[in-house]
């Protein structure tokens, strides 16, 4: 009975996911307009841009979920790898132009070079910072991210564009991915990245390595007593999360046709932390949901802040409402204080409350 229902449940989940992805893939061809949530009908480039951005942030949040949700490693430097992907691809596309490769081949080669760079960088940073744990680990990763941020701003060899950021060099990018009219292709690319990152995350979580880091998160000593050294497995997870973040970063470069030093700052990692906690720590789809809710809220609140209705309010209401980050930060504090499971944890906590209630009722009878 339980076996069949478990299998049926899995089937339902797979079917629902496929339907959801199919619906998301069809969105550019439909004319769905949700006023207040989307900036316009779903086929317009503006809306697709926002949605694609939300999906890339969701992919990034998933990679952060691997670190924080699965392995319990509180990193303050995850933005480093996202920036490494975005800046890496941007710099390689600008400077790597072999004659013997066709333009499309050069694009693929640039992506592969960036991925290799991300693997080396994340393995190096991970190998060093995983020598300490807890708050010290958070600090070392923060320090590395800060070093990356300083490096990017300093514009070494005029390669990263400094404060202005690095625009995308489109000569070696396929035409299908360039320009406002092609936004729907970029949207599909972002969706593909999100699906791939989700599947990799799922695979890592279900793998033996995933079980070991989850066990080490709960009780490090016990895992050691069992004869497993968590360091190596943690390093693998750290590197995988770094590469996934770099892939999301490459999508970001193509979507925004450029990258600014903002994505390398510690603040960017903090917003990632906000997303994961908002969605629910430890839930895969919580990270996705949190990213989409956060991005749409940020976008809509920014639009609200610039609106006439807010400008005409008295100061005491106008000032807080005109700052999206104030509202998001306050929301975040409230979630941490009163909703420990985040958005994804709501069903579980409702269920638990109901179960407690029925138990109490039975006891009363």
């Amino acid at each position: 009975m339980t076996k069949i229902s478990a299998r049926m449940r899995a089937g339902i989940i797979v079917a629902a996911s496929v339907a959801l992805i199919g619906f998301a893939a069809l969105l550019p061809l439909l004319a769905i307009d949700i006023p207040g949530v989307f900036p316009g009908p779903s086929y317009t480039p503006g809306t697709l841009q926002v949605l694609a951005y939300a999906m890339l942030i969701a992919a990034l949040a998933l990679s952060y979920h691997l670190l924080f949700g699965l392995a319990g490693m509180l990193s303050f430097g995850h933005a480093l790898f996202f920036a490494a992907g975005a800046y890496g691809l941007g710099v390689v596309l600008r400077n790597f132009a072999p004659e013997w490769l066709p333009p499309g081949g050069a694009f693929v080669a640039a992506i592969l070079i960036t991925i290799v760079f991300a693997i080396i960088l994340s393995a190096f940073v991970g190998a060093l910072s995983l020598r300490v744990t807890g708050i010290s680990f958070a600090m070392v990763t923060l320090a590395f991210a800060q070093a990356g941020s300083v490096l990017v701003r300093r514009n070494p060899g005029k390669k990263t564009g400094g404060e202005e950021g690095l625009p995308l060099d489109v000569t070696r990018v396929p035409d299908a991915l360039v320009g406002v009219l092609q936004t729907k292709n970029l949207y599909w690319l972002a969706l593909a990245i999100l699906v791939v990152v989700y599947l990799v995350t799922l695979w890592v979580e279900k793998s033996r390595a995933g079980h070991v880091v989850a066990a080490a998160r709960e009780n490090d000593l016990r895992v050691r007593v069992l004869g497993i050294r968590p360091y190596g497995v943690r390093l693998v997870i750290f590197a995988i999360a770094g590469v996934l973040a770099a892939i999301a970063g490459m999508g970001f470069l193509l979507l925004q046709s450029g990258v600014s030093p903002r994505v390398a700052t510690p603040d960017f990692t903090l917003s990632l932390l906000v997303i994961v906690v908002l969605g629910g720590v430890g839930y895969r789809w919580g990270a996705v949901l949190g990213a989409i809710v956060y991005t749409l809220l940020d976008q809509r609140l920014t639009a609200l802040a610039g609106s006439e209705a807010v400008a005409s309010l008295p100061d005491i209401l106008r000032i807080p409402l005109s700052q999206p980050l104030f509202i998001l930060g306050t929301l975040f504090i409230l979630v941490v204080l009163f909703l420990p499971g985040g958005i994804a944890g709501i069903p579980a906590s409702v269920q638990a409350a109901r179960r407690n209630q029925t138990v109490e009722e039975k006891e009363l009878v």
């Binding site: 509180l74 060093l128 020598r131 300490v132 744990t133 807890g134 708050i135 010290s136 958070a138 600090m139 070392v140 923060l142 320090a143 590395f144 800060q146 070093a147 300083v150 490096l151 300093r154 510690p266 603040d267 903090l270 917003s271 932390l273 906000v274 906690v277 000032i319 807080p320 005109s322 700052q323 999206p324 980050l325 104030f326 998001l328 930060g329 306050t330 975040f332 504090i333 941490v336 204080l337 420990p340």
Partner: protein, 292 residues
């Protein structure tokens, strides 16, 4: 020679600023295990309130500066104590959540400061003497550095005297050493938590007014940029160690000044490398006890 003296004394001045932030961070972490991301906001609020006070009084005299320093320290202490009471206390012993709450507070408060005081830096007017320089061994040192060093030394002295010679100081020192033992002896440590936050907030608020003297302006991001260096100082010095924070702030700031001058402006990178090196060789920091 004069260059080295100049770099050393300006480094001490910057170190004084780091110390004012790092002392509170270190005490809070040592006693409660909370890494306080909102500490930069205490500093920023202190700086803004100090500026508001100075603006309302006659500008540019020593009395005004003194008044704004006191106002900054008081408002920093009040903000910090309120943070502890309303946000940290409900999450007692859940360290990750406590860190997250302070992250949220930092994001929200910086946005609010931007909304109230705008995003552009506001330039401050100081007593004339602070804008001049004094010659020591051939080096022309800006006078504001002496004010910073003096204030930080006074704060260090005051905190040490408080910790060594008062009952609450004793409780705090004992709590850093072994919190559960203090609780077991029937002492309410929670009051010490609020007190430590208030002391840290007061030092940060005072640091905010002094930072506006040092940089010559106030902005909503003044605290955030100092906070990262204060974190590095705290970790290098050893989390929970006040003496470690004092030594490390001077070391970090002097290293930064020297690297900026001799190694083509790479001060920030040198500090980050120093942090990585310290953590790898001595994970508990220069004067810290074993890591928890």
């Amino acid at each position: 020679m004069s260059t080295i003296v100049l770099l050393l004394i300006t480094g001490l001045g910057l170190g004084a600023l780091y110390f004012l932030v790092a002392s509170g961070l270190s005490l809070i972490y040592g006693l409660m295990g909370v890494l306080n991301f909102a500490h930069g906001s205490f500093l920023t609020l202190g700086a803004f309130i100090g500026w508001e006070v100075a603006r309302r009084l006659s500008d540019g005299t020593w009395w005004t500066l003194g008044a704004s320093m006191i106002a900054g320290a008081i408002i920093g202490a009040a903000f910090a104590a309120a943070t502890e009471f309303f946000l940290i206390r409900p999450l007692y012993l859940r360290h990750i959540e406590q860190v997250l709450v302070t992250v949220g507070l930092a994001l929200a408060s910086v946005a609010l400061f931007e909304g109230i005081w705008g995003t552009d830096p506001i330039y401050v007017v100081n007593p004339e003497w602070l804008g001049l320089t004094t010659e020591i061994l051939g080096a022309r040192i800006p006078n504001s550095r002496f004010l910073l060093i003096g204030c930080a030394a006074l704060v260090l002295l005051a905190i040490v005297l408080f910790l060594k010679h008062t009952r609450y100081g004793l409780i705090i020192r004992a709590g850093v050493e072994n919190r559960s033992m203090v609780t077991a002896l029937g002492i309410d440590v929670r009051r010490a938590f609020t007190l430590v936050f208030a002391i840290g907030g007061a030092a940060a608020g005072l640091g905010g007014v002094l930072a506006s003297v040092y940089y010559g302006y106030v902005s909503a991001h003044i605290g955030g940029s100092l906070l990262i260096f204060a974190f590095i100082v705290t970790v290098i010095g050893g989390l929970g160690s006040l003496a470690g924070a004092a030594v490390a702030s001077v070391l970090v700031a002097v290293l930064q000044q020297f690297a900026n001058y001799y190694l083509w402006g790479t001060g920030d990178l040198a500090v980050v490398l120093a942090l990585a090196a310290v953590l790898l060789i001595r994970p508990q920091g220069l004067m810290g006890k074993s890591v928890r």
